[in-house]
Amino acid sequence: MELARAIILGASAIGAGLAMIAGIGPGIGQGYAAGKASEAVGRQPEASGDIMRTMLIGCAVAESTGIYGFVVAIILLFINPLIGML
């Protein structure tokens, strides 16, 4: 029983780490959005307010997948539903 618990805890910690790989995607996506926004501001400086707003919303939406990964990691680390299944 103790061994099973230890294995579940260790595996959950590894799983939480793996879940955070989801952070790569939003990083690339937000960087791409920010780069394009800088380009757009360089081309049309007078529209910088609108571009900024659009970019922020786009970044926020792109971030969702990373946040889902983070929520899975938090659940595995702090609430761990798997231990209850023993």
Binding site: R53, L56, A60, S64, I67, V71
Partner: protein, 230 residues
């Protein structure tokens, strides 16, 4: 990192947690501040506090007018309330309290409120029949996907705000623990290494992230509501 602590329990199993208590503190503080700012107003402002009150209202009205148009000015108080509550809820992390927005219940409540408003605006603009028909656009086979996307919007909004603030909390507490054990490893009598670095991180995670998420949440609310009216 832990969940919000239970302070006391009301009858019928209503739990008063840290989040609920701090939320009420924020609401009372903001209400008192606004009562003070709008106390005996004049037609031509001579007092500083009335100027501040007018500036707040004007800023919020302009934000809503720019993003939603003249037609939706009725939403300005809701957006202003959301914005204030969200910013203060994240900023109380600076004085060592648990941020209200690092609790999924708070952000989920806002997201559900926004989602309900979106549905109401949709029903109002196109009528109940048109609202139901809107799910079968562009083809009838896509109806389940439309229903799922209707539900996933509030879920992603709630998780986004919660996740950002909670991630900041997890990372700062990890750094605090790491610095404490590092100071213990080099035999310092007090954890001296904890000075400095956490303050810089707190600047990003508490102040920048708090403002950003409040802004994004309000922006998304405005975008969703005004696009529901088309």
């Amino acid at each position: 990192m832990n969940g919000p602590k239970l302070i006391f329990q009301l009858p019928f199993g209503i739990n008063i947690t840290e989040t609920v208590f701090l939320s009420w503190c924020i609401i009372v503080a903001v209400a008192l501040l606004l009562l003070y700012l709008t106390h005996d107003m004049e037609k031509v402002p001579t007092k500083k506090r009335q100027v501040i009150a007018e500036w707040i209202v004007e800023t919020m009205n302009n934000l809503v007018k720019e993003n939603m148009g003249e037609k939706f000015m009725g939403f300005a108080p809701y957006i202003a309330g959301l914005f204030t509550y969200s910013i203060l809820g994240s900023l109380i992390g600076l004085i060592g309290l648990r941020p209200v927005t690092a609790d999924i219940n708070t952000t989920a409540t806002w997201a559900v409120t926004t989602a309900l408003m979106v549905q109401i605006v949709k029903v109002r603009t196109s009528g109940f029949g048109g609202y139901l028909k809107g799910f079968a656009e562009p083809v009838a086979a896509i109806t389940p996907l439309n229903i799922i996307s209707e539900f996933s919007t509030p879920v992603s909004m709630a998780f986004r705000h919660f996740g950002n603030i909670a991630a900041g909390m997890v990372i700062s507490s990890l750094i605090y623990m790491g610095l404490a054990s590092l100071s213990a490893a080099i035999h310092l009598p007090i954890p001296l290494l904890q000075v400095g670095l956490p303050a810089i991180l707190s600047l990003y995670f508490d102040i920048f992230s708090g403002f950003m998420q409040a802004y994004i949440f309000c922006m998304l609310t405005m975008v969703f509501i005004s696009s529901a009216a088309e």
